[in-house]
């Protein structure tokens, strides 16, 4: 166990170093210059040089890299060029909003996908299962940003029932102590705030969750149908278990492991999707900030964000591995 953990930690370190090298290198070869984005008209060549030097951009590339990496190891992400704030602080401010959004989307997609898979398996010999497959195909085929736009048109414009942007109504007094506003408002019983946060989250959450729900439904449905044909289900049927019970207590146990493994991989894609979805809904998370950072060629911020996403992906993969083992008794006991 200890050996496994050290091995995984070592692999994570190597991965993150690779990510750091790649993002640093790509940013320097990509066109665009952060200083050019920030200077006003009438700046002299001297001003520009001074500004460059103040961000260390006058140094040779390899030195820039080592300086950045050295400070990183001390927990210093550098200073955002466009916002002039510590990158670490910016990341910590935005991270909770994205975590809440992504986890909520994951929860919704698991519940919805699980429901579709169970109903589809229950009705697998019925014509209605074809209709369910059809609906599921639609969920799957449409990417999150198209869902976002469709939702905006439907629930924001045609039937304006949900707020179009932001995370909370600015007129509500919000002195949250953490960035996990939804969780916090629930914990302090401010259900008015929670309701408003939920209303703001609904559309971005759905946009992110619907495609993943489709994938989960399809994989789980497949795994459940496969399990339902096994001998042990037949024997359980002879015991007199109802169809629903067979699905939930006999088949599900063996179908959930492989489904979780795939859900984990897909969840990393969902997090990638937060970038565009947060932008569309002006949701104040990491993804939204990432787009601004790229537009402004804010090297330190982009680098910090990419590393942050890298850490998140590694953690998700780790959790998935543990979950898969936890759901498979054969692996659990070696």
């Amino acid at each position: 166990m200890i050996g496994l953990i050290t091995k995984r930690a070592g692999m994570a370190a190597v991965t993150l170093f690779g990510v750091a090298v790649v993002v640093f290198g790509l940013l320097r070869v990509a066109p665009g210059d952060p200083i050019a984005m920030m200077i006003g008209p009438g700046a002299t060549a001297d001003d520009i040089l001074r500004l460059r030097a103040s961000y260390g951009l006058d140094q040779p590339l390899i030195n820039q890299f080592w300086i950045w990496l050295g400070s990183l190891l001390q927990g210093d992400f550098g200073t955002s060029i466009s916002r002039r704030i510590d990158v670490g602080q910016l990341l910590l401010e935005r991270l909770p909003a994205t975590i809440e959004l992504a986890l909520m989307a994951l929860l919704v997609s698991m519940v919805l996908g699980g429901f579709i898979a169970i109903i589809g398996t229950l009705w697998r010999r019925h014509w209605a299962s074809g209709a369910i497959d059809g609906v599921n195909g639609v969920l799957l085929a449409i990417p999150e940003f198209v869902w976002a736009l469709a939702l905006v048109l439907a629930l924001g414009v045609a039937f304006p029932v949900l707020p179009l942007s932001g995370r909370i109504n600015p007129s509500l007094t919000t002195d949250f102590r953490t960035g996990f506003s939804l969780l916090e408002s629930l914990l302090i019983f401010r259900f008015d705030l929670a309701a408003d946060l939920a209303r703001h989250m609904t559309m971005p959450v759905l946009a992110l969750a619907l495609p993943l729900a489709g994938i989960i439904a399809r994989v789980l449905r497949e795994a459940l149908s496969e399990a339902m044909m096994q001998d042990y289900v037949t024997l359980a049927r002879v015991k007199g278990m109802s169809e629903l019970r067979l699905i939930l207590f006999e088949a599900m146990r063996n179908a959930i492991g492989p489904t979780l493994a795939l859900t984990g991989v897909q969840f990393t894609f969902l997090i990638g999707g937060t970038v565009i979805v947060e932008k569309i809904f002006s949701y104040p998370g990491l993804g939204n900030m990432a787009i601004d950072a790229v537009v402004n060629r804010d090297f330190p911020l982009i680098q910090g964000l990419v590393l942050m996403f890298g850490v998140i992906f590694i953690l998700i993969n780790l959790l998935v591995d543990f979950a898969v083992v936890a759901f498979n008794p054969r692996l659990r006991h070696g």
Partner: protein, 290 residues
């Protein structure tokens, strides 16, 4: 004696090509007896068992006949009643113990399902009863086995667990579909003896599916011999072995190792006998459709 299970004129065809799978099969299982269902591969033994147990696949269509259990027709009663009736009164010992236990559930949970569903046991009482049952099928250290998963157990152990599970609810009728074919010869014998002992203790009626006439001779009271879904010969085990009427039965007896005289050797079944059987079936099909 009255028949507990009475299969009357049961016919079934394949959904895909309409090919007959069962041809007008009738058989009675008397209370407290073991009825051997014998036939070579594809004869329809498992299909009959599955129809009785309500687990026949969608590929098989029952075209005629009744399956009467205690006066109720299992083919006709509503799905829900059937599930409850089968769950509470019938049990199955499957052919392959390696696939018949859920790999993701503890042995203890799988053993206590029926007790809790149909016998009104609570969790604790069911657990205690399951321990007794495991002890009864000669499993050592039952308490540990209850907490294990199927992959911890050998094939023979698993079959014992499945037998314990089958007897848990004291079923009226037990269907054993080649319960020993997947096991080694020595384990086979033990499991067979165990089955016979439990059957005698509980007075359970059993349908015993096999293609091994030696096994039939050891434990069955009555025998139905099938060929291509058609009953070739039927009667008490004694008559079948001592005074077989059908040429196919005689050929089968000659072809199987003699339980009373192992030195006698084997005689392969004569092609002419098989041809005669097919002719009989063709004639039957002709009468049905012509």
């Amino acid at each position: 004696m009255s028949a507990l299970l009475s299969i009357e004129n049961l016919s079934a065809v394949s959904r895909r090509d309409g090919k007959p799978i069962l041809r007008d099969v009738s058989l009675q299982v008397e209370s407290g007896t073991i009825h051997g269902l014998v036939g070579e591969s594809g004869a329809g033994k498992s299909t009959i068992s599955k129809i009785v147990l309500g687990i026949v696949s969608g590929g098989v269509v029952v075209t005629a006949g009744r399956v009467m259990l205690d006066g109720k027709d299992l083919v006709q009663i509503p799905e829900r009643d059937k599930r409850i009736l089968i769950g509470s009164q019938l049990a199955l010992i499957p052919q392959d113990p390696l696939t018949a236990l859920n790999p993701g559930r503890h042995i203890g949970d799988q053993l206590t399902d029926s007790l809790r569903m149909w016998k009104g046991f609570n969790r604790k009482a069911a657990w205690a009863r399951a321990l007794e049952l495991l002890d009864h099928v000669a499993i050592r250290d039952p308490a540990r086995v209850m907490d294990q998963f199927p992959h911890h157990l050998s094939g023979g152990m698993r079959q014992r667990v499945l037998i314990a599970a089958a007897f848990a609810i004291e079923p009226k009728l037990l269907i054993a579909d080649e319960p020993t074919t997947a096991l080694d010869a020595t384990v086979q014998k033990q499991v067979l003896q165990l089955l016979k002992r439990l059957q005698a203790e509980h007075g359970t009626s059993v349908v015993f599916v096999t293609h091994d006439l030696g096994v039939v001779a050891q434990i069955c009271d009555d025998v139905t011999l099938l060929f291509q879904g058609k009953v070739m010969e039927q009667g008490t085990a004694a008559t079948i072995f001592n005074a077989p009427r059908h040429a196919y039965t005689r050929a089968l007896l000659a072809a199987s190792p003699r339980y009373d005289n192992p030195a006698a050797g084997l005689n392969p079944i004569d092609d002419a006998v098989i041809a005669a059987c097919y002719a009989q079936i063709q004639q039957f099909d002709g009468v049905q459709h012509g």
